[in-house]
């Protein structure tokens, strides 16, 4: 029963996210109030059903959604939408909605296409994954990825149709604020992961592919803060940096998890 409910709400979430993206797109083309309201309502609906999916999953497994790729992706899509809605309500702009909801939809669609049964499977947690450090490591990683996703969506939207939706907004400052949050979370993620790895394997840093690419991601965003002092810096450059940084984040997750072997292969 609970498994059926998870699947039903999960597929409803996918539809809600994609429909919301479509209405956000219509909204960017024509700035009509109705399509914008429908888009936001659909995003909120998808967020609610996604929350239900996560809660049911926690009930099913008896543990937090922090132990495999499926849980990470569903949690990430949930957080992307949550962060986006907070952004929309705070800055009163829907311009980044299309890309953000499209991304959230693609994340859950990926789960539905590649790992459809994983969402209702109960895999006993291997001993090495039973650690509070791991849960906090994954939780902060989702927060970091969600923030970088939002920064990239806002940036890409700004680059694509800046004149329409970002009037009177200091886009560079907004992107900066979001990346600061993501960067602090990413730093904490790496630190917590090192503590966990030290306890589990006796090695806080093994130079495995995930660790290397996390370091590269961290370096790219650190470079962003340093380049912010350059005289060539502009809103456009900041936006390009945010989009490029997120491409590396995506590779760190998808490329490393699915193409390379290492200590994070189970994730």
């Amino acid at each position: 029963m609970i498994k059926m409910a998870i699947l039903a709400f999960f597929y409803f979430t996918i539809v809600a996210f994609f429909l919301s993206a479509v209405f956000y797109y219509i909204n960017t083309k024509n700035l009509g109030k109705t399509s914008g309201k429908i888009a936001t309502s659909l995003a909120v609906t998808g967020l609610i059903t996604s929350t239900i999916v996560l809660l049911l999953r926690v009930m099913l497994t008896g543990q937090g959604p922090f132990s495999n790729s499926v849980e990470f992706l569903v949690l990430l899509s949930w957080l992307c939408v949550l962060f986006y809605l907070l952004f929309e309500f705070k800055f009163k702009t829907q311009s980044a909605g299309f890309l953000m909801l499209l991304l959230a939809g693609l994340l859950v669609l990926f789960v539905a296409l590649i790992m459809p049964r994983s969402l209702i499977m109960i895999n006993s947690q291997p001993p090495v994954l039973k650690s509070i450090w791991l849960s906090s490591h994954v939780f902060t990683a989702v927060l970091a990825y969600g923030a970088f996703a939002l920064a990239a969506a806002v940036s890409a939207s700004y680059l694509l149709y800046s004149s329409k939706g970002f009037k009177e907004l200091n886009v560079e400052n907004i992107i900066y604020g979001i990346i600061v949050f993501g960067f602090v979370m990413l730093t904490i993620t790496i630190f917590l992961g090192a503590i966990w790895a030290e306890q589990a394997w006796g090695c806080y840093w093994s130079w495995d592919p995930k660790e290397i690419w996390s370091l590269i991601t961290w370096g790219i965003y650190a470079l962003y803060f340093h380049f912010r002092s350059s005289k060539h810096w502009s809103d456009q450059v900041a936006a390009i940096f945010a989009v490029g940084g997120f491409v590396v984040v995506l590779f760190t997750f998808f490329g490393v998890n699915f193409l390379m072997r290492g200590l994070h292969s189970y994730a």
Binding site: P127, T187, W207
Partner: protein, 323 residues
């Protein structure tokens, strides 16, 4: 002079960090036996640490300069000082983490120790001896392992204390740390060739050579289920899965069961012995890594908090602090 100027730059620091990451992507730097590659890695890390050290020293000078300053606004002074101290902590923290890592790779002791119950192991550079009393595997209801526990007796002079080492809960004794890394089974095997028989003690994955023939022991399973090669729980139907290449045959045999492997040879898995694998290591660089990591995280949080407080763009602050 020009070289030094460009070496101490932020661009050089980031280039070195990228090179270190790329190097580590292609070479197993955690393996000191790859000595040639390892030296190249060392050089890059040392250059990176020097680059950071130059920044840290300059920052320290700036902090001392601020401390000597007289200003009417104490708040501005404290925020400015805090910002410089935070940036100092971030860069010094990164340098400490890399230095600690290099210390561990070069001076740290790291060994995998296989022990059967009753066996002992003397810790390096100490009078402490470990004796494995027991090794236990706990299982979930579905048969998958939930925890591995090595019960070890720590013998120091006249004192003997029993400790548990489990996954995620290492034991720290006499400057060494012991981690529950793995476990395995050894099989007592008897090959009966009619008028003579031979006995072997073999681990999973090992082979027994019998003239032109051989038998590979794939694994011991505590509860064998047909069609499933994986471990299915603590009790039920213990069996050994083996492979005979010359017959291209993979099969399973119960303990004590006599298996015909050729016209006049029979194989019997007499019994099994469990062994634990502990990782024993010393980590002389760990205090540097821990303090560096803490400085890095706290420093980064403070940098952004103080910068927000100062209500200025990062580039303005950066221009200010890079003077």
């Amino acid at each position: 002079m020009e070289f030094f100027k460009s070496f101490k730059s932020m661009q050089t620091g980031f280039t070195l960090l990228l090179l270190i990451s790329l190097f580590a992507s292609f070479v197993d730097v955690s393996n000191p036996s790859a000595a040639y590659s390892f030296i190249g890695f060392y050089v890059l890390v040392i250059l990176f640490v020097i680059n950071l050290a130059i920044y840290v020293v300059n920052k320290l000078k700036k902090i001392i300069q601020i401390l000597k300053m007289r200003t009417e606004s104490r708040r501005t002074l404290y925020i400015g000082l805090g910002l410089h101290l935070s940036l100092f902590a971030v860069h010094a923290g990164i340098a400490l983490v890399f230095m600690g890592n290099m210390l561990d790779l070069s001076l740290g002791y790291n060994q995998r120790v296989e022990m059967r119950p009753g066996e002992t192991f003397k810790l390096p550079d100490s009078n402490t001896t470990l004796k494995l009393e027991d090794f236990q595997i706990d299982y979930y209801e579905d048969g998958s392992p939930s925890q591995y526990t090595s019960k070890v007796l720590v013998i120091e002079k006249d004192k003997e204390v029993l400790h548990d080492i489990t996954v995620n809960h290492p034991l720290k004794i006499s400057g060494s740390k012991m981690y529950q890394e793995s476990y395995g089974w050894r099989m007592n095997i008897e090959i009966d060739g009619g008028n003579k028989s031979k006995k072997y003690l073999v681990k999973s994955g090992e082979e027994i050579g019998l003239g032109d023939n051989k038998i590979e022991i794939i694994r011991y399973v505590p509860n064998f289920v047909h069609g499933k090669m994986r471990e299915q729980g603590i009790s039920g139907n213990p069996a050994v899965i083996y492979f005979i290449p010359q017959k291209d045959l993979t099969s399973a045999a119960k303990l004590g069961e006599k298996v015909k492997i050729s016209d006049n040879e029979y194989l019997t898995f007499v019994d099994k012995q469990v062994f634990t694998v502990l990782k024993v290591k010393t980590s002389p660089g760990l205090p540097f890594v821990e303090s560096g990591g803490a400085m890095l995280v706290i420093g980064i949080v403070l940098v952004f908090l103080l910068m927000n407080n100062k209500a200025m763009r990062f580039n303005d602050v950066y221009k200010d602090v890079s003077k």
